[in-house]
């Protein structure tokens, strides 16, 4: 087995130090996974309307040619807002071929879904919850093994923090009303 370390006059089992470090690495990993996924999610959402500026106050987009796209359809169930430019402007526009290759005027589909409401978002969330779960298991297992041994308090802290993190993460993603309604409509829910 592994030797003991002497830290500040306390003798601490190296195995225990490793377990605690691993638990910390898992916290960081779970956090990083979700943070990265969220960043990409936002980036991808932004990319969907590159070149178009959104004006939140007036709830409309301005296209590269200065034409305004106003709210056309708001689909609550599907969490989608559709903005549309006047067909006449687009049909007369130099960018038409690239921007709106049909005669109805350019549309922008603006997804109102939050990260954790999308499938891909939920996938990454669950993986990060799994990682926190592993952290909890290591801390818990260690706590049982070191219950009455020196250094056990470190594991108690790790265990406590793991629970709090898991709880925070779970609370962070409330089952929103939209999801609840959809659950009753389609059989393919989680």
């Amino acid at each position: 087995m592994l030797p003991s370390l002497n830290v500040w006059g306390l003798s601490i089992d190296l195995t225990l130090v490793l377990i605690v470090s691993y638990v910390v690495v898992l916290w960081a990993g779970g956090w990083a996974l979700e943070a990265l996924a969220r960043t990409h999610f936002r980036r991808a959402q932004r990319h969907a309307h590159d070149g178009f500026a959104y004006d939140a106050e007036l709830d409309r987009y301005e296209c590269p040619q200065g034409e305004l796209l106003t709210l056309d359809t708001h689909d609550d169930r599907d969490k989608l807002a559709i903005y549309k430019a006047p067909a006449a402007s687009c049909n007369a526009c130099v960018l038409k071929a690239f921007c709106a290759p049909h005669d109805e005027g350019r549309r922008i589909y603006h997804s109102l879904a939050e990260f954790h409401e999308t499938d891909v978002g939920r996938f990454h969330r669950r993986l990060s919850l799994t990682i926190l779960g592993v952290a909890l298991a290591f801390a818990g297992g260690g706590l049982v093994a070191w219950w009455s041994r020196p250094g056990g308090w470190l594991l108690a802290i790790a265990f406590g923090v793991s629970i709090v993190l898991l709880w925070l993460d779970l609370r962070d993603a409330p089952r929103n009303p939209g999801e609840a309604t959809r659950a009753s409509e389609t059989p393919s829910q989680w």
Binding site: A48, D75, C99
Partner: protein, 760 residues
């Protein structure tokens, strides 16, 4: 061409560059790999063994499946010792004891072992008395541990190899590898293996080259990422999945998509995929069980029939087979969708291929059984039985047959695409699909250059042309190819954007992935330049992995948007999620865990430990396994009658396999791998591979939950595919079918202009 021809030229150039460098290293390896003496003699000139005997020993070692029990030069399976390092350690101990056991004795050991007494002119290697007597003692040790055990243990059965001539040859082979690991290259300060394994007793430690090239490799990675991300930020519009306008499309319900006769046969393929996957999981369970109970399975004397080396071989081979079957099937499924019709006779060919596959799979697994149990005549072992090179385990005959099968597959794909190929430029998507399909058998066939009697460094080099170039180059390409095609067929991205992305992929993988092959050849006896090239170029492999993950994200977002918009009609929710998991595991398993063990300074201690297992599970199952499941789900969705399809089963599989894999990795392989690596650094490599391994049975039980969750995920797929195979949807009436087919069988229709489902 759909895209600028510069893309094609660029792709061809980088491809040629990559293979030019790799060919250069092939030449160098033939010139400069560790020599195998014509004879090894003692100081009096008495012949101990000959080159022929060493080669026969290697052949026996391989065909008895010992490379699937332990490792040589760190390559092989992990329950047994690393024979090279173990031999070297025992040899040094034995000699030191013989020379008095004091510091002077130890110095003498170091000097004697490092001194290169091989004379290339006469082909003779002279061993000192110490080396000669160590050989006898170690031979006896391996006899008790492996060849002639009294009872089952260490995953092997009792009296496995009886002929004393044979066992002596095997030990001679191992002794030769240990000699190459310590004898200094003429005129240089390091051994043929760049001083691998780390072993204090013989004075083996990291070389300056290893440290320098590790540093340069980091530079290559960071610099490469910087350059590529910079360029990418600038030109991402040219390659990304961004569209001018996202078209609002409606997916044709799977039940309304016409199926061709050949496509309908594929439901049997997917049943085979699911069944092989389940079997692979179960055998994996038995394999990992040997880590906690080396003499059996809950008290049963399992090694008598299914020793560890056999289950490990089957586990690995089945992984390749189930993935390959899914790829073959998906290719055949997509061909008529691309070309819009199906020539006569495809159904027959597709059925023939399935039969051929079944013969290869069960024939080769059977051959491995017979070979490892010593039930084949000597001349037939490597041919009908097993060649025993890890991953190319199957006998040569089965390898030929598999290549024939893959060529038959190419014929099917070619016939299927032909109507479309004639009308397309050679640089367009359908042609790219064909080229990409062509690389798979082509690079498998390279494996024929390896045989049981190739000098190890050379055999291993060609073996990794298959193993590495498949998974880190051509399968990555084929993956992008399939996914891009599927997304084009579903109308989510345009052909132009998909084509650019594929070219971009070829460019990036050809830079790093091709030469990166050499990251498997750092320490197996090739020249040091392999280490430099391997370290430097393989670092660049991480770039496409990170970048494509970013890209995959954007495009999954597109799929996601469609799904948000059309929740009720989007038929591929789970296929798209499996693809999302491919992206995730590519990043974590291949990118992060691959790079973690990639630097020569890490690999020097790490090779052949559970950290490799950690990487290979996360990367192989995570990327290719999940992709196989994505393809299964995607195609089966069309093959199933609506009443047989079950979202619930697929959903369960998706979560169970992904969460199970994560638990397996983080609950077991990764932490244990780190501990083992730590042990290799502090107590020596041989120790980490033997003594240490027995210390952590309790942690091995930590593997159970993940494994069980994972396995639970494979069973529902068997049930689903079985139902579908037995009652494949017959598709719209015949008249209908020709109509749909003629229209170019698309999987979507555009719905503009009217905004769908308008509820304001």
């Amino acid at each position: 061409m759909t895209v600028s021809s510069l893309w094609l030229q660029g792709a061809v150039l980088t491809f040629v560059f990559g293979f030019a460098v790799l060919t250069f290293s092939a030449v160098r390896i033939y010139q400069d790999s560790a020599p195998m003496p014509d004879q090894v003699v003692d100081e009096a000139g008495k012949v101990l063994f000959t080159r022929e005997q060493i080669l026969e020993g290697q052949e026996l070692f391989l065909t008895y499946g010992l490379m699937q029990f332990g490792t040589v030069y760190g390559h092989g399976a992990y329950l047994g010792p690393d024979f090279t390092a173990d031999y070297l350690h025992r040899e040094a101990l034995h000699m030191a004891g013989r020379y008095g056991g004091d510091e002077a004795g130890r110095q003498r050991v170091r000097k004697e072992l490092q001194e290169n007494r091989y004379d290339p002119k006469t082909g003779t290697l002279v061993w000192t008395a110490g080396q000669v007597s160590a050989f006898g003692e170690i031979h006896e040790h391996f006899g008790e541990l492996v060849y002639g055990r009294k009872v089952s243990g260490v995953g092997l059965k009792a009296s496995m190899i009886r002929d004393p001539e044979d066992t002596r040859k095997i030990t001679a082979f191992i002794a030769w590898t240990a000699w190459t690991a310590v004898a200094r290259r003429p005129g240089l300060a390091y051994s043929y293996t760049n001083n691998w394994p780390p072993e204090e007793l013989v004075g083996n430690s990291l070389t300056g080259d290893a440290v320098m090239w590790s540093a340069l490799s980091l530079v290559a990675l960071l610099g490469g990422i910087g350059i590529v991300l910079g360029l990418y930020g600038r030109y991402s519009h040219a390659v990304g999945w961004h569209e001018s306008e996202e078209q609002r499309i409606r997916f044709i319900p799977p039940a309304d998509v016409a199926l061709t006769p050949a496509q309908r046969v594929l439901s049997w393929y997917f049943l085979v995929v699911a069944a092989l996957f389940l079997l692979q999981n179960l055998i994996g369970g038995a394999t990992v069980h040997y880590m906690v109970e080396a003499s059996g399975f809950f008290g049963i004397d399992l090694p008598r029939w299914l020793p560890y080396n056999l289950t490990r071989t089957w586990h690995v081979q089945l992984a390749i087979f189930f993935v390959a079957t899914a790829y073959l099937a998906a290719g055949i499924f997509l061909a008529p969708l691309i070309s819009g019709r199906e020539p006569k006779g495809q159904r027959l060919l597709t059925t023939a291929l399935l039969v051929a596959l079944a013969v290869v799979v069960f024939g080769s697994l059977g051959g491995e059984y017979l070979s490892y149990h010593g039930l084949l005549p000597r001349g037939q072992r490597a041919f009908l039985g097993a060649q025993g090179w890890e991953y190319l385990d199957l006998g040569r005959f089965w390898m030929y047959l598999l290549i024939v099968g893959m060529v038959l597959w190419l014929v099917i794909i070619y016939r299927g695409l032909r109507p479309r190929l004639g009308t397309e430029s050679r640089g367009n998507l359908p042609w790219l699909f064909l080229y990409s399909a062509l690389t798979i058998p082509a690079f498998y066939a390279v494996g024929l250059l390896t045989n049981t009697r190739s000098t190890f460094a050379i055999g291993d080099f060609w073996r990794f042309w298959v193993v590495h170039l498949w998974v880190e180059d051509f399968l990555e390409l084929f993956t992008t190819m399939l996914v891009a095609l599927i997304f084009v067929l579903m109308g989510i991205v345009s052909e132009r954007f998909a084509t650019r992305l594929i070219y971009f992929d070829i460019l990036l993988y050809s830079v790093g992935g091709v030469v990166g092959t050499l990251h498997h050849c750092y320490f197996s006896g090739g020249p040091a330049v392999e280490m430099s090239l391997g370290a430097f170029f393989s670092a660049a492999e991480v770039i496409p992995l990170t970048l494509l993950t970013v890209e995959a994200w954007s495009f999954l977002q597109l799929g996601n948007r469609q799904q948000v918009g059309e929740a009720a009609t989007f038929p591929h929710r789970w296929a798209v999620l499996f693809l999302a998991s491919v992206g995730f595991w590519n990043f974590l398993g291949a990118g992060v865990f691959g790079f973690l063990i990639n630097l020569p300074v890490v690999s020097y201690y790490e090779i052949g430990t559970l950290l490799t297992s950690n990487h290979s599970h996360a990367a192989f199952m995570g990327v290719y396994g999940m992709l196989a499941l994505a393809l299964l789900v995607f195609c089966t969705r069309y093959l199933a009658r609506p009443e047989d399809w079950s979202e619930g089963l697929v959903r369960f599989s998706f979560w169970a396999t992904n969460i199970g894999l994560m638990l397996m990795i983080l609950g077991h392989l990764f932490p244990l791998g780190i501990l083992q690596l730590g042990d290799a650094v502090t107590n020596g490599y041989w120790h980490a591979r033997t003594e240490w391994f027995r210390n952590y049975p309790w942690l091995s039980w930590a593997r159970m939950p993940g494994d069980l969750v994972f396995m639970a995920g494979s069973a529902p797929l068997v049930w689903l595919t079985l139902k579908v195979a037995l009652r494949t949807r017959s598709g719209p009436a015949a008249a209908d079918r020709s109509a749909t087919a003629a229209a170019g069988a698309s999987l979507f229709t555009e719905v503009s202009p009217a905004p769908a489902a308008g509820r304001t």
